[in-house]
Each structure stands twice: as structure tokens, then as C-alpha cells.
């Protein structure tokens, strides 16, 4: 079957279009905010972008196998609520680190709950994670009914102000993520991910452990959500039991901007990470372009739709010409 060229291109290089979109929004951002390329500004931006990047990377793995995880935001909220109440503003450094470990475990458990229901009980992912998002969100509110509490400033400042070798931690975390992915993709497990996303039934018939693979993706997603929760708590220094709520749909949007097909089987990590950065830059543009408050929601949505529509529009023109 001959594919039209633009979709052919995006199948072969799923990151190609997301890279172009990212460069375009970056240029627009540069037009409005000339300091964007200065080290300090970049560090400040990356600090803010990192939580969504982590969340998106986890979501990307789930979407790659044809699933979706709409409970990630509420896992972020649980982490924020736990850290704020168990460590507290006057906690010690050791205490904070211990609880970092515990919340990562909580993320893994939360992801496992999703995974058991979806992979082994064979429930539909979107509705299962919708149900668990209520469960986790309620739990976060139960732990911390109102925003408050926090983590010790000395720990938060490591994230907020220190830049080892002049670069923020994000500059080390993101390449590490991508390198891990490049390694995983070549392993047997990595190939299983694509096989399950391509066609689960066929994968099952060729002896791929489909249920285990699907289960593992939700565990990864829960773990990454907990990482994102730690980062955002470090960034704000305080607890908020609903801080993750708006992040879920952003993460899914970032995954799609990153060239991952929602039906699974196509994509990776680098594209979605660029997607997450793109969303961050779009927010920057809106705040630096002096857009009237009333217009912000509209402009934000229009930029996202336009970015996603651009490849399709180009495709339409090409088809008409040939």
C-alpha cells in the first residue's frame, strides 16, 4: 500500500514533525522574549518544564502499547500531598530523602493497581484509569484536605537554585531518559512494546507475554508520575492535593504532539519530550506576547490545534498537486 508522503515521513521518523513544531514555537518565543537563549532563562524554564516532561515520558510508554493513563495527574497529587504532610517544612534532609523513596514506591503501587485491572482483568484503559483517578484524587484530598505544608527549603533549593556545571538538573535528567529509552528499545522488552502496540492479538500469538508487557507500562507510568510529583513539589516547595489535575491532559497532548499514534505501535520518548517542551514554550509565548488575559485559553488551544493540523494541511496540498 502506498502511503501519502507526509504520513510516510511521520511513520519513518515519528520525531520529525514534533521537532519542526518545537523549533517553530521556539523561534516565536525568541521573537517575543529575546532572553530565552541566555543560560539563566533556559535554566529557569527547564526547571518549570521538567515535571511535565517526566509525566509525558511515562504516558508515552503507555500510549505506545495502545493504552492511555488518565490517572497520572492524581498520582502527582498524592505525591505532593504525602510529601507535604509527612516531611513538612521543618523536616530533615534524611527524612525528605526517605519519603522520596516511599512516594516512588507509592507511584509504582498505584501504577500496579491500574496494570492489574487493565492487563489481567482486561478492562478498557481509559475508563479504568478514569475510575482510579477518582480513587487516587480522593486519597490525595484525604491526606491533605487543603493546599499547605511543604518540604524543607534547603532541599527545595537544590532543585530551584543549584545548576551543576552551569546547567539545571533537567539537562542531565532528560538525556538520561532518552539514553535509557534508546537502550530499552533495542532490548527484547523494547521490541515487545512495539509488538503489543502494533497488534496485541498477533503479538500474543507469537508468544509475546502481552499481559506482562501491558502491566509493566502502567507501572512505569506510575513511577514516572511519582518522579514528576517529586519534581513539582521541589519546584513549588509546598503541597497541593490537586496540583496534578491539569497535568494529565497536558501530558497526553504532549504525547500526541510528539508523533505518537494514540492507537499504539508508533512513537517513542524523544518526540513526546519535545511535545512537553513545546507546550511549556507555548505558555511562555502567551505570557511574553502580552496577550490579554481573556484571550489566553483561546490562543493556547488555537496554537495546539494549528500545530497538530499543520502536517495534515501540508498533506492535503501535496495530494491536490500530484
Amino acid at each position: 500500500m502506498k502511503l501519502p508522503s507526509s504520513s510516510h515521513l511521520s511513520l519513518r521518523y515519528p520525531y520529525f514533525l514534533s521537532a519542526i513544531i518545537f523549533i517553530v514555537v521556539l523561534l516565536v518565543n525568541f521573537y517575543f522574549q529575546r532572553t530565552i537563549l541566555e543560560g539563566n532563562t533556559i535554566n529557569n524554564n527547564m526547571r518549570v518544564f521538567l515535571p511535565l516532561v517526566l509525566l509525558t515520558a511515562g504516558q508515552a510508554i503507555v500510549v505506545l502499547t495502545g493504552g492511555i493513563d488518565i490517572s497520572v495527574g492524581s498520582i502527582v497529587s498524592i505525591v505532593s500531598a504525602l510529601l507535604a504532610t509527612r516531611v513538612g517544612l521543618d523536616g530533615t534532609v534524611e527524612q525528605t530523602l526517605t519519603w522520596f523513596g516511599i512516594v516512588l514506591l507509592v507511584g509504582i503501587i498505584a501504577g500496579s493497581i491500574n496494570g492489574i485491572f487493565i492487563a489481567y482483568l482486561r478492562l478498557q484503559p481509559i475508563i479504568t484509569t478514569y475510575a482510579t483517578s477518582f480513587f487516587f484524587g480522593g486519597l490525595a484530598l484525604f491526606i491533605l484536605p487543603q493546599p499547605g505544608g511543604g518540604i524543607p527549603a534547603e532541599v527545595a533549593n537544590i532543585y530551584r537554585t543549584s545548576n551543576p556545571l552551569g546547567l539545571h538538573w533537567a539537562f542531565y535528567v532528560i538525556p538520561l531518559l532518552i539514553m535509557t529509552w534508546v537502550f530499552i528499545r533495542q532490548t527484547r522488552y523494547g521490541r515487545y512494546l512495539f509488538a503489543v502496540g502494533g497488534r496485541a492479538q498477533a503479538a500474543y500469538e507469537t508468544a509475546v507475554p502481552v499481559s506482562q508487557v501491558i502491566f509493566s507500562t502502567y507501572v512505569v507510568s506510575g513511577f514516572m508520575a511519582a518522579m514528576a510529583g517529586i519534581c513539582i513539589t521541589l519546584l513549588t516547595g509546598s503541597g497541593n492535593p490537586q496540583i496534578g489535575d491539569p497535568m494529565t491532559l497536558q501530558a497526553i497532548t504532549a504525547v500526541v504532539i510528539g508523533g505518537t499514534a494514540m492507537s499504539g505501535g508508533v512513537g517513542g520518548i524523544a518526540g513526546p519530550i519535545m511535545g512537553a517542551l513545546t507546550l511549556g514554550v507555548i505558555k511562555n509565548i502567551i505570557s511574553f506576547a502580552n496577550i490579554d488575559n481573556w484571550w489566553q485559553t483561546f490562543v493556547n488551544a488555537m496554537i495546539i490545534i494549528t500545530a497538530l493540523a499543520a502536517p495534515g494541511i501540508i498533506g492535503l496540498f501535496r495530494r491536490n498537486r500530484s
Binding site: L123, Q124, I127, P145, M302
Partner: protein, 320 residues
């Protein structure tokens, strides 16, 4: 071993009845007072009408397959409620024109969704999500958060009050609405083609179904149905605010799933969604009666939903 199977809509209705009877035993509930029980049952059905109507468009879009989902439904509900509010301005004779306008606007929004999905190949999830942002953004720009307007007395009388033999008007409208949906899904060419493209778009196309036109029509119809939902909602709440529609969005998807419609498309029914809406409204009403704190209520709601879909929302295993 032969499995006993009950069709999901029937299971959901049974579940609703059991839940309702169970809720009678709760403290400060109706107990053995049949009069109160009936009026409470009627009230819960009345409340489920609004979610049920909003879930109608969602049902069509989900049956159409291709990862179909309509995340703009909540925003369309708000938009249509505000439009109704500002067009009617308290005059009975302006209700019908308002209804026509909101249906057209809803259909237009749906048509744009469909065009983005079928021509520009944008994933429905993100296309409709983006559309939802665009609509909410437009409402904010135009209204700046407050819309002058007033409902017509006739809307309140027909939608919110008992109309005939003590049955609320909303329920009577719902019965006609459900009959219409049944005809669309089960007795029309459109419905037949809808299930066909939901199962497999390629085979549908090869059998002569115009897939492009079907997708456009489905999303447009879904938009119009969501707009009708907004019209009904404002008739019941009698106020408008920016966040009016958003709380209906995910429950409308949940209602479709609880009703046994496959989220991957091609299989489902509107009666299922109606039953699903009833179950969801009933659960939240029972939880409210139990006077739990908000956090616990959310957790119980999530757990209950999980149990319900575990009972019959399971997909086929790989081994069969």
C-alpha cells in the same frame, strides 16, 4: 463451561435497582415509606436525564470507532447553555429560535471536529480536547465571565417541573429522545453505516459506505446532541456559569462504558448509555445521602466504578 451472560444495559439497570433498594436502608433515607421512595426514584431518573442526553452524542462518536471520543462535549454544553440564556431573555416565543440556534452551533462545532479528524488526521482525543479549549476560550472572550440573560418561564415549566401525571417534563422529553436515538441507531441507514465504520473502516469503505461523510455526520450530530444537552441543563439549573458543562464530560464517557458500549467502537447501544447514566447519578446521590466528606466520596466513587466495569466491562481475553 457455558457462561451466563446478561446484556450490559440490563445488568446496569438491575444494578441501579439493587443500589436504590440498598440506599433505602441507609440512615436518613426513605426506609419503608413508599411515597418518599417513589418521589426519590423519580427525582434520580430526572437528574439522569441531563447526563443521559449529553452521553447520546458521546455514544455515537464512540461507536463510530477510530479512537473516537468527544472531549468537547462539556464545552459545547456550556456554550449552548450560555447561548440559550442570552437569546431567550425571558421570552417564551424566543425559546424555539434559541433551540434551533444552539443545535446549529453545536453541529458546526462537531463538523469542525470531524473535519480535523478525517481531513487533517488529527487524533480525535486531541482534536476534540483542543476544540474544547477553543470554545471555552471564545466564551471567555465574548462574555468576560458574565452573560446577561434570563430563562423563559416555559422552559422552567417544561423541563424542571412535573408536566403530566406528576412526571417531570424532562423525563417525558427523555422518552421521546430515547425513541429517536433508537430509530437513528437501530432503524436507519445512518445507524447501520455507523456500526459498520466502527467495526472496520476499510471494509466499510469497500462495501460502499462513504466513510468521510459518515465521520463528519457523526461528529456534527454528536455536537448537536451535546448542545441539546446544554439547552436541557440550563432549563434545569436556571443559571449559567463557565464551568457548567465540564463536570458532565468524563461522566458522559463513563456512562457509555458502563452501558457496555465498546470504547474501541463498533458495538453498543444508547439504552446502555441511559442505564449507565442512571447508575452513575444513583451512586453519587447515594454517596451524598451517606454524608461522606468529599475526599472519601471520590474514593468510593472511583472504587465503585472500578467494580462495576470489572463485572462486565471486560474485553475478550487473548486466548479465546
Amino acid at each position: 463451561m457455558k457462561k451466563i451472560s446478561i446484556s450490559p444495559p440490563v445488568a446496569a439497570v438491575l444494578l441501579a435497582v439493587i443500589l436504590f433498594i440498598f440506599s433505602g436502608f441507609l440512615p436518613n433515607s426513605f426506609g419503608t415509606n413508599t411515597q418518599v421512595a417513589i418521589s426519590q426514584a423519580v427525582n434520580i431518573i430526572r437528574l439522569s436525564v441531563f447526563l443521559g442526553i449529553i452521553a447520546a452524542g458521546q455514544t455515537l462518536v464512540i461507536i463510530s470507532g477510530g479512537e473516537g471520543i468527544d472531549l468537547s462535549a462539556g464545552a459545547v454544553v456550556t456554550l449552548s447553555a450560555i447561548l440559550t440564556w442570552t437569546i431567550v431573555l425571558g421570552k417564551d416565543e424566543r425559546v424555539l429560535p434559541a433551540l434551533v440556534v444552539v443545535l446549529l452551533v453545536g453541529a458546526l462545532v462537531g463538523l469542525i471536529n470531524g473535519a480535523g479528524i478525517i481531513f487533517l488526521k488529527i487524533s480525535p482525543f486531541v482534536m476534540t480536547l483542543g476544540m474544547s479549549g477553543v470554545i471555552t476560550g471564545l466564551v471567555i472572550i465574548v462574555n468576560h465571565g458574565n452573560a446577561p440573560g434570563r430563562l423563559a418561564p416555559i422552559m422552567t415549566r417544561v423541563i424542571a417541573r412535573p408536566l403530566f401525571l406528576g412526571i417531570p417534563g424532562a423525563i417525558i422529553i427523555y422518552v421521546f429522545f430515547a425513541a429517536l436515538m433508537w430509530i437513528i441507531l437501530e432503524r436507519s441507514t445512518f445507524g447501520k453505516n455507523l456500526f459498520a465504520i466502527g467495526v472496520n473502516r476499510v471494509t466499510a469503505k469497500l462495501s460502499g459506505v462513504n466513510v468521510t461523510r459518515m465521520v463528519l455526520a457523526t461528529y456534527a450530530l454528536a455536537g448537536a446532541l451535546a448542545a441539546f444537552g446544554g439547552f436541557m441543563v440550563v432549563g434545569n439549573t436556571q443559571v449559567v456559569f463557565l464551568n457548567l458543562g465540564a463536570p458532565f464530560l468524563f461522566p458522559s464517557i463513563a456512562a457509555v462504558a458502563v452501558g457496555g458500549t465498546l470504547l474501541s467502537g463498533g458495538k453498543g447501544s444508547y439504552f446502555g448509555s441511559m442505564a449507565g447514566a442512571l447508575v452513575l447519578i444513583l451512586i453519587s446521590s447515594v454517596l451524598t445521602t451517606m454524608q461522606m466528606i468529599d475526599a472519601v466520596r471520590q474514593m468510593v466513587l472511583g472504587a465503585t466504578l472500578l467494580i462495576i466495569i470489572s463485572i462486565y466491562g471486560r474485553q475478550r481475553g487473548f486466548r479465546q
